[in-house]
Symmetry: C2
Subunit: 487 residues, 2 copies
């Protein structure tokens, strides 16, 4: 293990962002390729990030009143066909089980690409009266979509996610739920993952198959491309009609409930890498880092080693007692410099260095991952290590968000005519967000996509500016929209 | 919802254990049948039990040094064939994906029935040196086995589980790991699930396909049938040879690592129901109950209602502040008696009753689920509710284990000849454990199975008794073994 970080250099980020991303994910041991087409292996260091974000998001979802459940992996093929848009959207990319227990199945089973169909089939058994509403269910599971072009975390045949499914007595309540979850996601992404978000409505072309309205949280990655980080759908009565879910309302009238669904996936691991990483490697927000602080002892002579290690263990103990996730790097046979690089590459937010002179002075050096070099270093009395670490981690968490937000703001332009939009999106890389007036018509959206490769990422909810003219056709445009080249 | 518990009576346990079990699981809303053959839906009240036990077991597994990861759902068909016994054991019961993205696949994919093959394929990429060992990985996931006869939680086509997979430099270390995990499972089942365990080795006939030795934790359900609650396998070098995993040992010699795998599944939910349930319904150990205490306010007149509800909310707040999982049943339109029955059916360990006279006296009544009737009731000053509840919950947790252990002890017989064994196992129900001398030969094991339907459940590790004669053939029998009819 110890030699690995030297095996192969990470491609510089500015040289080839995609190669940098792959090199980093593999070298930091977040994931690995698998022998199954389009499927990846989540290695412990990657899965630990998923566990941290899953546990926190799970708490936040439960706080809204939803409860976890688990529905079958397999969906009868006929179920998919009950909602017209849904089958059109998903049928081309499903994996199909045709044999079980050595026999051909009478009806093939789909490996769930999403669970609206099977969950709503069950909702029809459980919902009879307004007293059964709202019904708010969440599920953490694996799903499979047979994607043609795959990329680690961002687009894989199998991925992990949570999918929430709710049913409500009124349209208003379901619309409110859709926006509540959008806000849960936005807040979670910014507070916990330090990823700045542009939230908004999707255009009709980008809507979830079967939804009346799709809302999204989008962010901008280090290369100026947009990444959809989560979606919340208002399904209207599309699925409750297709699956014949009915309830007796308070006035004794039979109604179809109004529904939502919403989800985020392991794609967020890719977002963390691409929003924060640099040429040195990962930069993990302290909230998700499985190691928040690494303690590196430094010595040359054996007699120094004892004193240094004793001090390092004391610091380590203090950090753990304070509830911080800390690691002591006692490895023999590799230099301190090697260790610094290794932990920087793995994205540990804070490093504590302790050498013989520090021990003599009763001090340690703390080095921040978010501010490299002398500017990010400070000396701290050894008995204040834990208190100082807690403060710094909190600052690092905020600073990563601030840095990413500054980058997103700097890469959000307002081209005032179509030429400027084309210039912004020219070239192979991303072009950031173009915040433009758009008439809302599909033909202008298509023209932008065909000529610039930018698609409509989100129509912001806040439209506190006067209507103007569409950047493409100059017809009246009631709203601004964010366009970008996207993952 | 409110009327449901009266819709249908639960079959008495003594009348038809299997019907009682199904009625209870459905009525308590732990699970539901699904439209997919052999697959069930875990409803929120059932899934919450799984979450509680999963989180606790996850902590215990991590404490042993294993880390979580995630491997693909799909396994290339050819992988299954690499270990001869493994393919023989699993090939007949796999689900096969033959189509993906609208095309027939070149090589069919198996939906994982267990992940030894794909995980060891990856281990071969990651293990090169003794410094890479031990490698200890755990995975929480869904698996699929196309079972012919299914039963909710106990045997379903899809189920949830954790599967640990480890690789070690020496046989001794791997054997120790196998037993360490057996003990983790035993302790967890007894402490957390209040399920008494008989731990031991499996006979050759009952071994995991591909293992050199399988260890098991077994318990006895309320009908005297045994249930395998978890297994820990010593795999020897079977998989490391089949998947060509090699490492350079400290003496620079190439070796195959020694391996283990171990798992428990959602079958444990069935164990909790069957080990503790009674004619009134579930009896949940406080450690896994998502509602540990239910507060039921009792009043007739409106002016009483205010005072009672105020007191009930105070009690509720105190319980929550003490970190207990409590619920206030404020439902209108159903009687207190109905509520008592409903919560008893759902297995809530402790009930707090508050009526107008209690409020006047500054008291509440606490009623234990594990001791029904007046014997389980006590009066407590209202300001001592939380402290008393914590004490009672701890007593209930212990008492459920003690009750189940007493039942298991009472149903563990030592037939001294084959006739007595046959008598013990006669009839349709379970016959408890038969603790017998067995020569260890397959032919005596087969005869017992064919003539009594009892199989060898476990050969206890502790054999502190003199050798004797086999109960079947009278040949020398070095060890005692536990036989039972099993799920």
């Amino acid at each position: 293990m110890a030699e690995k970080p030297d095996d192969k250099k990470i491609t510089p980020r500015g040289q080839d962002f995609a190669a940098w991303y792959n090199d980093l994910v593999l070298r930091a041991e977040l994931a690995d390729y698998s022998p199954v087409r389009g499927c990846i292996v989540f290695r412990p260091d990657g899965f630990a990030i998923w566990e941290a974000l899953r546990d926190e998001l799970d708490r936040r979802i439960k706080r809204t009143g939803a409860r976890n459940a688990y529905f079958p992996l397999f969906i009868p093929q006929s179920f998919l066909q009950k909602e017209a848009q849904h089958v059109e959207g998903f049928a081309p990319e499903v994996a199909v089980v045709t044999h079980g227990g050595g026999k051909e199945l009478e009806e093939p089973l789909i490996v769930r690409p999403t669970s609206e169909t099977i969950i709503n089939h069950m909702f029809a058994q459980w919902i009879h009266s307004h007293r059964d509403l709202p019904l708010m269910i969440n599920q953490w599971c694996n799903v499979v979509r047979w994607e043609m072009r795959t990329r680690i975390f961002l687009r894989t045949a199998e991925f992990l996610w949570q999918e929430g499914h709710t049913a409500h007595a009124t349209r208003e309540e379901a619309e409110r739920e859709t926006l509540t979850m959008l806000e849960v996601y936005r807040n979670f992404a910014e507070e916990f993952l330090a990823i700045p978000i542009a939230a908004g409505r999707k255009s009709a072309a980008e809507r979830f198959p079967g939804a009346e309205e799709t809302y999204t949280i989008e962010s901008l990655m280090g290369d100026g491309r947009a990444l959809q980080c989560g979606t919340s759908h208002f399904l209207g009565q599309n699925f409750s009609r297709a699956f014949e879910i009915r309830f007796l309302d308070e006035g004794n009238v039979m109604q179809h409930p109004w529904q939502t669904s919403w989800g985020v996936s392991t794609r967020l691991l890719g977002a963390i890498v691409m929003a924060h990483g640099d040429d040195q490697g990962l930069r993990l927000p302290p909230a998700v880092a499985s190691t928040q602080v690494v303690v590196v002892p430094i010595w040359r002579k054996a007699d120094e080693g004892d004193r240094v290690l004793t001090a390092a263990r004391t610091a380590m103990q203090a950090l753990e007692n304070a509830g911080l996730r800390a690691k002591l790097d006692e490895r023999d046979g590799v230099t301190p410099g090697f260790k610094f690089n290794d932990w920087e590459m793995r994205g540990v937010p804070l490093r504590v260095e302790i050498g013989p002179r520090d021990v003599a002075a009763g001090e340690v050096v703390m080095a921040r991952r978010d501010i490299l070099g002398p500017a990010g270093k400070s000396k701290v009395a050894i008995n204040e290590v834990a208190a100082r670490a807690a403060v710094l981690l909190s600052e690092i968490q905020k600073n990563l968000l601030a840095q990413a937000r500054a980058a997103m703001d700097a890469n959000t332009l307002r081209p005032s005519n179509y030429d400027q939009l084309q210039t912004q999106m020219a070239g192979e890389g991303g072009g950031g967000f173009a915040d433009i007036y758009w008439c809302g018509r599909a033909e202008c959206e298509t023209r932008i996509r065909d000529e610039t490769r930018a698609t409509c990422r989100a129509i912001p909810l806040d439209q506190s500016h006067p209507p103007d003219r569409c950047i493409v056709c100059a017809e009246p445009a009631p709203e601004r929209a964010l366009f970008a080249k996207a993952y």
